[in-house]
Symmetry: C2
Subunit: 395 residues, 2 copies
């Protein structure tokens, strides 16, 4: 018998190992209705499930997550979290753990994933440039120092992905926009556009990936690059968009990703002013100013393009206003609570998830009745990023 | 020792059972890059993986799949396959098997999933009407007999989902469009639009869920319902769209889901003619006719809206033509092989997957170089449906 014991101990061991490794994750699940919420204060993220409207798991150890953003792998399994401290963290949404984490620079400000999902690009302040990584391994594939016309390294902002495996970004300190063609991943082909305007500070790309628009901190107006005719160069649009002659005090420069494209209109936050500007996309002319509660930050269109939801800068950031796109009027004002930082619509637009940092809550609203459906406890939540972003250009 | 044997046999047994049941599916995977291909001849579907560009598994026993279509659950785990024989099959994309299957009518023609993912609607020819099922259990939730103004039951066509938990569909035999408000799932609230035009035979809803457009078999022109102003009723547009006075021979009425919405234009297949029509979305006026190879069937815009891909009716269905949206000219002609039945773009538009039925192949093309990247063997493939449809309105 004593000869037997070790033997069936082995089976016990194998069994235990199996249970501890694989089988805890036996229950198969898909990730199409999952997302991540950034918990800045604790350097953690929470996986949320918009199907059951619940928090699924907390993952710690992601470092400094102020101004953090997220992109997803094309199979919607992995989230890439870009931290302020230069950390790039690959989170496994299925196994609910960090798959890989690297510190890729001293100070970074967001990133993007290539159209085919093979490359992750990160834009850095310090040292200024873009680093490109293999999406699977996080191995460095290309390093693009942002040395501007002035010979100095510049902070990089407004990095987005564009069709044909390109990344587009702006150089804050040298007033340039660069397009990096990554079709040969290790040999980026860079096209440089100079004198695009003073201090581009952020940018967006339209949903189909055609128009790249950079906001300018140093002057009024915006820089527009039409990627369908790159040879035409960068044009200046909306000359009166910005802080204006008298340089209004701006508590927070609005995000350009927060522009709402609805039908023929773009609804954009006025810089400094208490207005949402309505712009005709055909010719980029201002057609209307909609007075709102305070300085708008995010101006986001629901997936059905019928309503646009607006949050505001400190100290008026306890409020959301809703604009009806059909009438271009404010039709509702909500008070989710202190420090409404972000809003994310469910993919087909029936709900909007709102982070209320200082209430330590995510609030879920019915987009049509605008009633609160439920709320979920979080640690100072900021950004909310759902996995369906995996399927979209420029997000 | 003899006393020990049975005991560790038990462990062996447990171990074996574990391995055979759960652990075969241990390797966790996400479904965001999966899809289904309809194999009509064999009544089977194949799960495809656009990440590894491969076929993952074949699932049999789905009945008559001619003209079959597919929608996905909001978590992208389950596919709902609508068969011609009235079969509604719920396929588990993770466990690669049929989860549930019912025969819900004698003869059906497609379906839709509600905005919130809770309801599956199927449109039936025989008996004419719409049946609504619980997306999880496939239990019948509501039965909507399509009894038209003429008192007869009508074939139902052009069923789509619309925002605010509505389904919109057309009554072929009584020239009506119905909007079913499902906010109270078991008590559908029906709004009926009459005399919309002779024999609506198919329909589409625009990506944001605002415009429902039905094609008319019995006369020229199209029926347009603006869901933002339902009280305005159904308007007739494009009076000259159709088979025309001389009633051209039509080998196959083009699909309306195959309309390409690109920027301010809709590119639509001319009925009978060898043309793609370019329509100004602002006013639904015809602005250009693009001559093409033969009678177009699907006219599909790439996700970046830069190119539109067109396939054709028998006997000229070995060809695909590509239209450049910037110039509205045909820029390429491909010959994938006999019976090109369907095209599906990867979510961010780097590739297009093409079913070539009589070559028993799916061909994968680079959307930009238009070169074939690879091809995959299939049994007479027809429709291709990727899981990212889960996140879109009207698909």
């Amino acid at each position: 018998m004593s000869r037997m014991l070790p033997r069936y101990r082995v089976y016990l061991l194998v069994l235990a190992t199996l249970l501890l490794t694989g089988c805890q994750n036996l229950a198969p699940r898909a990730t199409g209705d999952l997302g991540l919420v950034i918990e800045r204060a604790t350097g953690s993220v929470q996986i949320i499930d918009t199907g059951s409207r619940s928090a699924v798991a907390r993952i710690d150890g992601l470092g400094d997550l102020s101004h953090a953003s997220v992109v997803y792998s094309r199979d919607e399994r992995y989230a890439y979290v870009f931290g302020r401290d230069g950390g790039l963290t690959k989170v496994d949404m299925l196994l609910q753990r960090i798959d890989k984490r690297i510190i890729q620079s001293g100070n970074s400000i967001g990133g993007a994933i290539s159209q085919d999902g093979s490359l992750i690009a990160v834009s850095n302040y310090e040292p200024g440039g873009v680093k490109v990584f293999d999406a699977q391994t996080l191995d460095l594939v290309a390093d693009i120092p942002a040395v501007g016309e002035n010979g100095k390294r510049s902070k990089v902002v407004g990095l987005v992905d564009a069709p044909q495996k390109r990344f587009v970004f702006s150089l804050y300190d040298s007033d340039e926009i660069w397009v990096a063609d990554m079709r040969q991943s290790d040999k980026p082909e860079i096209t440089r556009y100079r004198d695009v305007g003073e201090q581009p500070y952020d940018a967006l790309i339209t949903a189909e990936g055609r128009f790249y628009i950079a906001g300018l901190f140093g002057e009024d107006g915006l820089a527009l690059l039409d990627l369908w005719q790159p040879q035409a160069g960068v044009k200046r649009i909306l000359g009166d968009y910005g802080r204006g002659e008298e340089k209004l005090p701006v508590y927070k420069m609005p995000h350009l990703e927060g522009w709402a494209m609805a039908g023929n209109y773009a609804l954009v936050p006025a810089v400094g002013g208490h207005e949402v500007l309505v712009i005709e996309r055909e010719n980029w002319q201002l057609v209307k100013r909609i007075p709102v509660h305070s300085q708008p930050i995010f101006v986001m269109a629901s997936p059905d393009k019928r309503s646009v939801w607006v949050n505001f800068a400190h100290p008026d950031n306890d409020t959301i206003q809703v604009i009806d796109v059909a009438t271009l009027e404010v039709v509702d004002t909500l008070k989710p609570g202190p420090a409404v930082l972000h809003m994310e619509f469910t993919p087909r637009g029936e709900e909007v998830w709102v982070s209320v940092r200082d209430a330590n809550r995510i609030r879920v609203y019915d987009v049509y009745t605008r009633r609160e459906i439920t709320s979920i406890e979080m640690e100072s939540p900021s950004g909310i990023f759902l996995t369906n972003r995996a399927h979209r250009i420029g997000l």
